[in-house]
Amino acid sequence: MDAVTAPVREISYADALHEAMRQAMAADERVFLLGEDIGVYGGAFQVTRDLVHEFGEARVIDTPIAELGAAGIAVGAALAGGRPILEFQFSDFATLAMEPIVNQAAKISYMLGGRARVPLVIRLPSGSGTGAAAQHSQSLEAWFAHVPGLKVVQPATPHDAKGLLLAALDDPNPVLIFEHKLLYKAKGYVPEAPYRVPIGKAALRRPGRDITIVATGIMVQRALEAAGVLAESGHEAEVIDLRSLRPLDGETLIASVARTTRLLVVHEAVKSFGIGAEIAALIAESEAFDRLDAPIRRLGGAECPIPYNPVLERAAVPQVDDIVAAASALIERGE
């Protein structure tokens, strides 16, 4: 809510991440950055720009193009007392580094009986909309949310981008931050002083009584726009920004759906076996099940890779009018 009501210093999502890293590096010399072209180049999305000039090449490390090795190095550094922030240039490239993330970082604390920890932060620019085609546009967050030992967040606002990144740095566990590329330029209220947004808590972005729309990442903005349109026809949609996928804030979701009696989940990732499935299942298993006045509905990416052609690309992921249509159908069906 703060993003709506608080006094205003508006900066972009990219600047919020930049500020969080800058403040963390100034406060804790163990914190350092590892990634491709994050130094003089400033990162493919300019999120780390100039940090190398302020903190030097020893703490803003351009790696060779070697995602598997870089991720393993980040795990080892964290294990030995460092506080690495690893940037994948595109989340798609994490497909080269699943081994150290999933077999090592996620499991070391457990496999060693709690005698070691891997405080590692991984930043993953993801999503479509840039015309970069199938290998630079994926939304793979569901893979990581399926892995015990990892924490997974998906900030939808500049405020949460900063607060979740700082919270991730405090966390003694590996935390993955999925950042949607189209959000980097989005502006919003961001307090200058460091603050934390708790990992594992969803945010109520708009209260409503007729339907609960649960959205993540870029879809939060679209869901809010859709809620505005729905309001014109007298339908009050409640919009919840999931923020954290693992741990998942089941309480908030169940309470909301029990109240509104309808659920629409919206994410950009491919619909089938996506995170919307877990949310739908969670509700279908919960006490909210008996309160449902309509079937649950999911909107997700089309069952295809992201195409290059911009018209097709847009058609491959949910848009505002898709959300409006799906929500209206559920509300009417329930009436």
């Binding site: 400033g42 070697a66 491959a316």
Partner: protein, 334 residues
């Protein structure tokens, strides 16, 4: 083991020289036109231009047969043209049109022309290295004496797949030739800052593989190294690694601010332009005269203009076909 360039090919004939120059001009023209179209807004997304690197793509592909295969990279327009693609269908692809090589689904980073033996560009750095090795394994299983050329960059040589695939290619003596286009940078990171050794060719020793380092801006030097490597591959003597030293004149992609290199360095390499250099050679050696060269230039310009016209006029894909070809149909069904 050094690749013996002793048994080099005969010097190019006038015809071959003409072909080489024509292809280099076509690549240069294509890249400049694509850049202009991007500025105009008729091409979106991003693109990686190979201006300044034309001699490597052409010098390698001159010695290939239509039935030989190549795997290309994100900087692949030159490879695609050199292997024999139609620039009109390429431009249509970059314009996202249904008539494009990938029906507008792939764009610059995934452009491919299976018909001429190009298995495709790749959005993943190093993504084609193992694919090329596997294709070579299949060719040998089919008892063909064709080979596969694998293009990749200096930055890609730091990826683990380079190590894994080159080891297996050498171990199994596969008909694949690895061609590293060393343009000094992987995006913003120079080879000095990304590699613990000065050259990529030296890494071939870790696999007992023959290698050579050549001037990638000299189409004749590239052609000579390729000639030897291809002969070895076709004879079953195993893979080779050719490192071609060249330079990318433009930024890495459309969003590059060139913060990591100097104007002087760029100007120095501009002075080593592979096309001007080869033209000079052809004139000096009397291989081609000025009129012929002018004619080739004019033809390239005309071909590119026709390609742009074709692409602009071509229809976009029907959104109803969004999910077409996610799965191939069974041959029976097809």
């Amino acid at each position: 083991m050094d690749l013996p360039i002793s048994d080099a090919p005969p010097a190019p004939s006038a015809d071959e020289a003409g072909t080489a120059l024509r292809l280099m001009l076509l690549i240069r023209g294509f890249e400049e036109a694509a850049e202009a179209a991007y500025m105009r807004g008729t091409i979106h997304g991003t693109m990686h231009l190979s201006i300044g690197q034309e001699a490597t793509a052409v010098g390698i592909c001159l010695g290939l047969r239509p039935t030989d295969l190549i795997t290309s990279t994100h900087r692949g327009h030159g490879h695609c043209i050199a292997k024999g693609a139609d620039v009109a269908l390429m431009f249509a692809e970059l314009s996202g049109k249904e008539a494009g090589y990938c029906r507008g689904r792939g764009g610059s980073m995934h452009i491919a022309d299976i018909g001429s033996g190009n298995l495709g560009a790749n959005g993943i750095v190093g993504g084609g290295i193992a694919i090329a090795t596997g294709a070579a394994l299949a060719l040998r299983q089919q008892k063909r004496d064709d080979l596969v050329v694998c293009f990749f960059g200096d930055g890609a040589s730091n990826e683990g797949v380079f190590h894994e695939a080159l080891n297996m290619a050498a171990l199994w003596k596969l008909p694949v030739v690895f061609v590293c286009e060393n343009n000094k940078y992987g995006m913003s990171v120079s080879t000095e800052r990304s590699m613990a050794v000065p050259d990529v060719a030296g890494r071939a020793a870790a696999y007992g593989m023959a290698s050579a380092r050549v001037d990638g801006n000299d189409v004749r030097a590239v052609r000579a190294a390729a000639f030897t490597a291809f002969a070895r591959a076709r004879a079953g003597a195993g893979p080779s690694l050719i490192e071609a030293e060249t330079y990318r004149i433009r930024g890495h992609s459309r969003s590059d601010r060139n913060r990591y290199r100097t104007r002087e360095e760029i100007d120095l390499w501009k002075s080593r332009d592979p096309i001007a250099r080869f033209e000079r050679h052809c004139l000096d050696e009397g291989l081609l005269d000025a009129e012929r060269i002018d004619a080739l230039r004019a033809a390239a310009v005309a071909e590119i203009e026709a390609a742009i016209g074709f692409a602009d006029a071509a229809p976009s894909p029907d959104p109803a076909t969004l999910a077409a070809n996610v799965y191939a149909e069974a041959p029976e069904a097809a």
